[in-house]
Amino acid sequence: MFTAMVAWQALGEQRIPVESYRVDQATFQSEVDAFVEARQIGEEGGVPVVEPMPGEDAYLQAMMFQFRPVLQLQRGETYRLLVSSTDVQHGLSLLKLGTSYNFQVLPGYLYVIRLTPEETGEFSLVCNEFCGLGHHVMTGRIVVVD
């Protein structure tokens, strides 16, 4: 089992992201805002839709009660998602084909998640760490295009 785990981490394509930094909440907020301002292409449900350049770092902010912004990504490109929270703890759950990927999001810590979308379509994010009375309406979205 141990070997399986090490091997998967070394050779497999689905690894646990380990890159992380401490980040001040205000700094993170201003970086997200700058990113949104620079790359916004529209709006959905009151949330900005943002398209990073292929391969560019993409910010994803968790806050009560939404993931901001909606990210539009190119299929087959690898992105670094820079994820953090500006209030309480949240859970980032990306739903795909009857499964999900799940990560903890902590205020004060920046989690770097490398992601290579392989299919096109709209994929929902839901929060899966209890974060307050709006926990069950906290969603987000990733759109993958060709």
Binding site: Q14, R15, G45, N102, Q104, L106, G132
Partner: protein
């Protein structure tokens, strides 16, 4: 010699050869009754939150749903389990050692602290002042009284643990008990030791939150808090595990008159648990920012595997003890499985024992190991899979085992005959069926990504709505949760009914009728041996005043082929599940 020791309020209990002393009896009874009351309250909350899991049934508002989940988790996982465990500690350190209770006043004070703490914490949660869940992750904040309540309970339990050790040491010093501890008490001691360090780290977590909530500390780092919190959050589960295994051994003795085929192996397994399982705690942080790969690997690998090994040893010792007892004592030697077919399935202690063992191993244990391997954790972290896993371990496993032993302890402690024996015979099956169905439903739903602790799975009120969970697959899984929960609540209510009816309406007798326990006690006495649960490692009688027996009990020559077969079935099941999980993960997009 102990037999001549002054009669300190001892009641002679012919049934089990125990001389039961009043203070220990009353204290154990008070804790057990408190625990049962909390189980009833927690069960009622379970009903309310579980009903609302499918789209078709929605009637509690979101705010209350969250309050109830929070209070259900705390009432059950913390309070019901801990109080029952304290009852078991007092029972084991007095009655099983034939010794009197020490520090009686301190023990009652500790009980008072626990009750006050439970009232404060639960009250705050229900009042909407502490909707932070029992995990209480900062920077989400609750009323300081909530943290104080939890701390009071923890301190009360720590005091009880200290008294347990005082009891044991005094029992040996004063000659009430000679030789090594009986296995059941040994297991309880393991639980008590783990409790000391898990409640210790837990105290760091909760005390720092308390200080922060009253403004004495600037802030609490969420990542450090998670480290410390899972010191108790997971450590407490090892307490539950060790206590459950101790109860399993007791039930083997009670219901088939059996004992482990290797005392030293069973004891070694308890030691391994103490030493290593704590390190498994980091698996709660596998997909957190802030930990390096090697740290994650270390924690999810060797150290944890040793603890898993310990569980496997127990998982072998218990069924083989049953098998050997059935073959040797009862002569059910035909074929591989006659011993199992002809087992006392109508004895609630036996059915709870077997069902608890099976579900704990096949579902709880396997999902646990899968979940704590790194990549797999990414698939299920914080989804309903997690409550599915722990309802398998702590409900179908530990709670069911505790219920099983309560059918014997309550009559023994309250000196009343059990009321509702027919209900008791059926109860373990009903409860088991319900919990099995709803936890499997949760596990399935978790694979779809259904989040835990979410008041409304429709996600239609969200700014970016998603219909992921109102599709047929997840909804079917949630219907299984709903129906299973209803059945489980009925099973729980049956248990509560038997307990309360016995307590208030049971016939007061000198010698409560506790079925097979009594029978084995009498049988062993005829053969000049101590009751099965009271045998020390060397087979000597533990009863003060008896001379050690020459004839050691040794079943070394008996084999347990049926158990070996069962173990292979289990391992095969494990391999299949493990492979399936990897298959699932390979379907994901590359991530890292």
């Amino acid at each position: 010699m102990a037999a001549e020791a002054p009669a300190r309020d001892f009641l002679a209990c012919e049934a089990t050869h125990f001389r039961i002393e009043r203070h220990g009896r009353q204290l154990a009874l008070a804790h057990a009754v408190g625990a049962v009351v909390l189980l009833a309250i927690g069960g009622l909350m379970a009903l309310l939150i579980a009903i609302q899991r499918v789209e078709a049934v929605q009637f509690i508002n979101d705010d209350w749903w969250y309050r109830l989940v929070a209070a259900h988790g705390a009432a059950m996982l913390l309070f019901w389990m801990l109080l029952f465990e304290v009852a078991a500690l007092y029972w084991g350190s007095t009655m099983l050692l034939n010794a009197p209770m020490r520090l009686v006043k301190v023990a009652w004070t500790a009980f008072g602290m626990m009750v006050l703490g439970v009232l404060l914490a639960t009250g705050m949660m229900l009042a909407g002042q502490a909707t932070v869940m029992f995990t209480a992750y900062p920077p989400m904040e609750a009323n300081p009284l909530f943290y104080l309540g939890v701390i009071l309970v923890a301190v009360g339990v720590l005091i009880a643990v200290a008294i347990f050790f005082v009891n044991v040491v005094a029992a040996k010093r004063e000659g009430y008990h000679r030789g090594s501890l009986p296995l059941v008490v040994y297991g309880l001691a393991a639980a008590a030791i783990i409790a000391v360090y898990s409640l210790g780290t837990g105290a760091v977590a909760y005390v720092s939150l308390f200080l922060w909530s009253v403004g004495l500390v600037e802030n609490v780092d969420p990542a450090f808090y998670r480290m410390f919190f899972w010191g108790i959050g997971h450590g407490a589960q090892q307490v539950n595990l060790a206590a459950m295994v101790a109860v399993w051994y007791a039930l083997v003795g009670f219901t088939v008159g059996g004992r482990t085929i290797s005392e030293s192996l069973s004891r070694l397994a308890f030691l391994l648990l103490i030493a290593f399982i704590h390190l498994g705690a980091v698996h709660h942080l596998l997909v957190d920012p802030g930990l390096g790969t090697s740290h994650r690997l270390m924690n999810t690998s060797y150290l944890l595997y040793l603890a898993v090994l310990a569980s496997l040893i127990h998982a072998f010792c218990i069924p083989s003890a049953i098998e050997v007892a059935q073959r040797e004592r009862h002569g059910f030697t035909k074929g591989l499985f006659q011993w199992l077919v002809r087992a006392p399935w109508k004895e609630p202690g036996f059915s709870s024992l077997v069902l608890s063992l099976v579900f704990f191993g096949f579902i709880g244990g396997v999902t646990g190991v899968i979940m704590s391997s790194m990549q797999m954790n990414m698939l299920v972290h914080n989804t309903l899979f997690v409550p599915g896993h722990f309802h398998g371990t702590v409900v179908a496993g530990a709670t069911l085992a505790f219920m099983g032993i309560a059918y014997y302890l309550l009559p023994l402690l309250s000196r009343r005959n059990l009321v509702g024996v027919a209900v008791a015979r059926l109860q373990p099956y009903v409860f088991f069926a319900g919990v099995a169905l709803f936890s499997l439903g949760m596990i399935r739903a978790g694979f779809y990504g259904v989040p835990r602790r979410s008041a409304d799975l429709s996600y239609q009120a969200a700014p970016l709505p998603t219909d992921s969970f109102i599709q047929t697959g997840p909804q079917l899984a949630m219907w299984a949760v709903l129906i299973g929960a209803l059945i489980a609540v009925v099973g729980g209510a049956m248990f509560i009914y038997v307990m309360l009816a016995t307590l208030f309406a049971g016939k007061v007798v000198d010698r409560p009728d506790v079925g097979l326990v009594l029978a084995y006690g009498a049988q062993e006495r005829e053969r000049g041996l101590p009751a099965p649960t009271m045998v020390a490692a060397d087979g000597h009688s533990l009863i003060g005043g008896h001379e050690p027996h020459d004839r050691k009990i040794s079943w070394r020559n008996f084999e347990a082929p049926g158990t070996v077969t069962l173990v292979f079935i289990f391992l095969a099941w494990f391999v299949v599940m493990y492979a399936l999980a990897h298959f699932n993960i390979a379907r994901l997009w590359p991530v890292g």
